[in-house]
Amino acid sequence: MQVSDRHLSDRFAKRLKQRRRADARLRLYGMMAIGTALFLLVVLLGSIVFEARTAFTRHELQLSVSRDDRTDRSLTQDAHAKLLSMFGDPQDRRTRQDITQLVSALSLKIAGTTLVPGEVRTDQIVLSDKSDLYFKGLTTRVDRSTPVINSVSGNVLSGEFSDLYRKAIRWRQAEIDQLARSGLRSAEQRAEVLKRQLDEAPDDPDLQARLDGERTRAAQMRARIEGFRSELDSGSISLDASTASVLVRTPTGFQRVVSISENRMTTETLLENMSLPEKAQALFIHTPAVQRTLSDAQIAALEWLKHEGLIRNTFNTSFFARADSSEAELAGLLAATIGSILIILTTMLLAVPVGIAAAVYLEEFAPRNAFTRFIQVNINNLAAVPSIVFGLLGAAIFVNGVVIPIPFVEATFRLGGGLGRGWPIVGGIVLALMTLPTIIISSRAALSSVPDSIRQGALAVGATRLQTVHHHVMPMAAPGILTGSIIGLAQALGETAPLLLIGMVAFIGDLPSGVTDRSTALPVLIFQWSTRAERAWEPMTSAAIIILLALMLILNGLAVWLRMRYEKR
């Protein structure tokens, strides 16, 4: 090929290089965008799955308990009595309470009342959510060690404890650092600022009071840090509810360490009159007792049950088989899943046929005039309406009804209303209204992407308009219509706000019996669980999110499958 001089000039070469660089840059930006999106997706899914991992199992206690109607002894009473006797029947009220609270009270109550009368037995007792979290490692970090105990005299243990002692020192040091770094320094900084303000306005009594307060606080902290430091120097550290706990398992029971040095521990008895292995064990519990949901005695009791092999980690059946509950160990998402399915079925039956019919009419039959343009603009606008507005509409029209006063007569007329709060059918109708614009817009796009030559060809062989649409246009647009509809439905499945407004916010403890029964939905349940305070709800919330995502994936997978099936033809 002959290359002309013009194409060999420096300017041409320079320009070519620039163009190539611009290409490369664009490709890089694209890859960066995709990389960022993928990274965020992985982080999001990863954190949800990581958080949820513990929710699918639960810990149960192997213990045969029974309800005896002759002696009028309930299942709960029997369980508590048997549990206490395992720990040498402690007399201290506090300790007894601690032990009986290890198992789920509600679960025992339900088992005791729902099983057939007579002698009701059960061998598996569900642990309370707090005990369960301990075994899942979510309550506190625990280090186990085997200290050498040389002699025991009363509450004083002698032996080789340097390992535990060093741990306690490290823990204390970390606390001192924390106090000095955040608490003390910020108090000093605040005092500094107040001082400067006071210099400008020396007569402000309020500023003076605040400055005094900050100074006192800083002095207190300094004193505490000083106390801790001198304690560290003294060679012995005292432990209490506000510090890390050290529990020691001796052959007769569990003890809590109140002060520790290299070779001496002073202790306090937690559980006694039990038979335990000769070899002692020490637990270093990093979270202070005041900051955790289990007391030292409860941890000791759980450790013993575990040691005895009475704790079993099993599949969390309640999570999939039960409705919501106030107790995390018994709460499940079956009711919400059924509710969501009922809602989505209603939405599908309403929105898909109406949406497709509207799209076909607007795209294939309607004249192009000002009126249809007006309709089209408004459908586009409806798609942008916040979903909560649809919730308000639904609540007003379907649940409460619109009260219209009749003129000249002292009476009112109620338009609409009559449907119950929180019924799946109301949710379905509201979500159908919300989804309709999405379905109409995507269906219209799919219809208009069918080449006009197909319509012309069909009309030219004498097909009617309906035949043209039905035989040729619809089959070609079907993948797009289906994808749009299913994406609309998936969106509806994850919608929360409108459902809250039509009264799905209430606590529902039973499974819904139909579309006209109070119900809840998965996203609403996730919202409710996420607002509950206990730690146990966090993994439950994430697990529920996973179930919702799985439902969505199934729906979207269906869309992809349908699309591929239709496109093959």
């Binding site: 069909a458 004498g462 035989h471």
Partner: protein
Amino acid sequence: MNSPVLPSAEPAFRGEAQTIADPKVSLRNVTVKYGDVVAIDDVTFDIPGCAVTALIGPSGCGKSTFLRCINRMNETIPICRVTGDVLIDGENIMKKEVDTVLLRARVGMVFQQPNPFPKTIFDNVAYGPRIHGLASSKADLEEIVQTSLQRAGLWEEVKDSLHRPGTSLSGGQQQRLVIARAIAINPEVILMDEPCSALDPVATARIEELIDDLRTNYCIVIVTHSMSQAARISQYTGFLDRGKLIETGTTEQIFTRPQDTRTNDYITGRYG
């Protein structure tokens, strides 16, 4: 091909006032407007049966619009307004009571771009007979499909693959397939809108051969950009310019002794 089938009477093809005896299709003072734009301006034209009539003219002169008057396809365009009369066998098809479905069963159409349905070859050809109920049995339908494909000269190539998608054929084959689709409903008139413009010379030659074969049974109206094609396959020619019918006559006459200077300029390549 070069022996035009002339009507018995001496042709009086000259300007717009020409008439031929016993025309198959007649347009009387047809005007087509797209909104305010006049696409066809008061055209009167007779088209004989069992012959190929070519419409030539520069781009945008209204050839396709003219063609689409004959099967009322212009009605599918919302802003298009057609006035005047179109007669087929003396019957005015512009009347409101004329059913377009029936009309289009009588007047088939082949488009510029081959547009087979995304269905099998068999279903493409069988579609028309099916919707019109032309076949009494399955065997009958199969026979219609076979005959149509044979007449379209496609049978030998596709007889073993009737259930492959029509879109999998080559461009030339697709065009013959839609011709088969058009003749499967047994029309009287076939309209062809630049049927060869998307095809290579070999496929074009095949289609031209096919058109020449079909002329013994059908009234064919073809729009073409190619002067040589018009000269090769048509017996009658009409020259359109800016919506006006400038000159009509036998192809021989138009190409050898044009009456109008614009026609002369156009066919000699000095215009258009």
